[in-house]
């Protein structure tokens, strides 16, 4: 069996570095897997690169892990993940051996739980969602598909994080707060107010940025 590790950025590097220990905590019997890597220079042609890499591989013998950071609101990683799934490959979820994950946590596929992350009881995480180093996910949080929770971020009890949303490093989301679809909070601090779909809080802008018009939901 092979694990095909594809991608670029911090998670790709972390997964590659931790590989032998990585397998021990995430259900993979590492002794049975060879690691094959495809490091990408950029995500500009990710779908084509993944297709070429997987060509000729047997989906019954290869698990894929798309390891791309939050590029393009996680759409770049989604491109790689979707490409693999469309070709019949199953995707692995990888949990760093230094992460703490409660037994009843529900995890989708192609997820990453980084070193020092704490994922509490009752948490549900969708497909292709990444939880970075040292993040803290409190009880009963729901994280949508294709989300990114950055290093040191914290999500309070019952928080809801929408599809394709990004919670940046050291951002603290209070309990019961909901971030809609395609939201970005990338200014460290505490946030106690829910955000509608398509809201961006970023150091480049003094005021929040909003997407208006056709619902963001229809685009993602």
């Amino acid at each position: 069996m092979q694990l095909a590790l594809i991608g670029c950025g911090s998670i790709f590097d972390a997964a590659q570095t931790a590989w032998p220990r990585l397998g021990n905590k995430c259900g993979l019997d590492v002794a049975q897997y060879d690691l094959q890597t495809l490091p990408l220079a950029s995500t500009d042609t990710i779908a084509a690169d993944v297709t070429a890499f997987l060509a000729g591989m047997d989906p019954a013998k290869v698990r894929v892990f798309a390891a791309v950071d939050y590029n393009a609101l996680n759409h770049a990683r989604l491109d790689a993940y979707a490409c693999a799934r469309l070709r019949g490959f199953k995707c692995a979820t990888l949990i760093h051996p230094d992460a703490m994950v409660e037994p009843d946590v529900q995890l989708g596929e192609n997820c990453w739980i980084g070193a020092g992350a704490i994922v509490s009881s009752g948490v549900r995480i969708g497909n292709n969602a990444f939880i970075a180093t040292g993040a803290r996910i409190d009880a009963n949080v729901q994280i949508g598909n294709n989300a990114w929770i950055g290093p040191g971020a914290a999500l309070g009890n019952n928080a809801r994080i929408g599809t394709h949303s990004i919670v940046g490093a050291d951002v603290k989301i209070a309990a019961n707060v909901t971030l809609g679809l395609h939201c970005v909070i990338d200014v460290p601090g505490a946030y106690a107010t829910s955000l509608p779909d398509g809201t961006f809080i970023d150091p480049l802008f003094a005021f929040p940025v909003h997407i208006f018009g056709s619902t963001v939901r229809s685009a993602g």
Partner: protein, 367 residues
């Protein structure tokens, strides 16, 4: 030639107040996008000429009203864009499509208006014109025809290009510590690109310069027409192809940069007919401007899953270009003083002199 605009026009609060009535209270001002007002009760709010405005889709018709309840002046709508019936959240008054107070909770027991008082309970309405997907408002009691401000040809160009807008837009406001006129003058000045944007914008220009091929200096710009201040120019640009480009209805030829100047305070650009950015320089004070950014792609031919990411990425790129201007313009504003010399314009700056001529006549500073 020395500019007729003096330093005081950029720093004097009295000049700012006068502009609110003589420029923004007299001209057609861009208010927002028709595409974002398509749904019933969709609305946008703006402040134009110091007046709070709400533009709302009422039974399919766009109406512009003063955004103040006839009761005790509470704004009827709060958000920049939204969808909500025209009603006051303070005491529950609702309004009809003509801006008249429709229902007043407990009217007979609490208010007991006379019939004359009741008939006067209506919102002040303003003139509105929709050019393609661009909504303009004029808050003057007797607005000039919009064809007096913009030529027929220019209106047709605006209608044509704006019809290609997607129905989704990304929007924000950027606070800037300079007078709004400095930004409008800046976008008219293509010569600054090579020095201020050498790595962001200049590399995209195909022939290496943003200057017109011919510069014909005019010695007199007196009595310039208002309508000559709004125009469109194009230049060749290198547009990197992306897969999503094939999924939208591109406007015009590829590799063209479209630059629209909509007097008094809008610069509207399009990169390759694929991405559109409206920059509006809203005066907040003599030395402060709110730069309003609204960006959209061309209309989609098919669903684009990553559209929010595309909009976000492009907006960040445009903001970085603006930031390069901001640094210089804020430094310029900070050092303007009443005794300072006026600008000295070269041959290529004829349009700036025309803008000054029209501005001073609007302000009553010139016959």
């Amino acid at each position: 030639m020395l500019s007729e605009i003096q330093a005081r026009h950029y720093i004097d609060p009295a000049v700012f107040e006068r502009e609110q009535t003589h420029v923004f209270g007299k001209l057609w001002i861009f208010a927002g996008l028709r595409t974002l007002l398509a749904e019933p009760d969709a609305f946008l709010t703006r402040t134009i000429g110091g007046i709070p405005i709400v533009i709302q889709n009422l039974s399919g018709v766009l109406k512009a009203f003063e955004n103040q309840c006839a009761h005790r002046q509470m704004p009827l709508q709060f958000e920049e864009y939204g969808q909500r019936r025209l009603a006051c959240r303070y005491h529950g008054w609702t309004y009809d499509a003509d801006g008249r107070a429709k229902t007043i909770p407990d009217e007979q027991t609490l208010y007991r208006f006379t019939s004359e008082e009741r008939s006067n309970l209506c919102l002040r309405e303003f003139a509105i014109e929709v050019i393609g997907n661009l909504v303009f408002v004029n808050v003057h009691k007797t607005p000039i025809p919009i064809e007096q401000q913009f030529t027929k040809e220019f209106l047709e160009q605006l209608a044509g290009i704006s019809s290609h807008f997607s129905s989704q837009a990304i929007h924000t406001c950027v606070p800037a510590r300079y007078n709004w006129k400095l930004n409008f003058e800046n976008v008219l000045d293509a010569n600054h690109v090579a020095y201020v944007h050498p790595r962001t914008f200049r590399p995209l220009i195909k022939n290496g310069t943003a200057q017109p091929a011919e510069i014909v200096p005019e010695t007199s710009v007196d009595d310039s027409e208002l309508s000559c201040l709004s125009f469109c120019s194009t230049m060749a640009m290198s547009v990197q192809p992306w897969p999503w480009h094939a999924m939208v209805e591109q406007y015009g030829p590829r590799d063209t940069y479209h630059n629209y100047f909509i007097y008094p305070n809008v610069n509207f650009i399009s990169v390759g007919g694929l991405v559109f950015l409206i920059q509006q320089f809203d005066p907040v004070a003599a030395d402060r401007t709110e730069v309003r950014f609204t960006l959209m792609t061309a209309k989609e031919k098919q669903r684009i899953a990553a559209l929010p990411a595309i909009l976000w990425g492009h907006l960040k790129g445009e903001k970085r270009v603006l930031d390069e201007d901001l640094v210089l313009l804020e430094a310029l504003q900070a050092r303007l003083h009443a005794g300072g010399r006026p600008a000295c314009h070269g041959a290529y700056e004829t349009q700036l002199r025309r803008v000054a001529d029209v501005y001073l006549r609007l302000m009553g500073d010139k016959a």
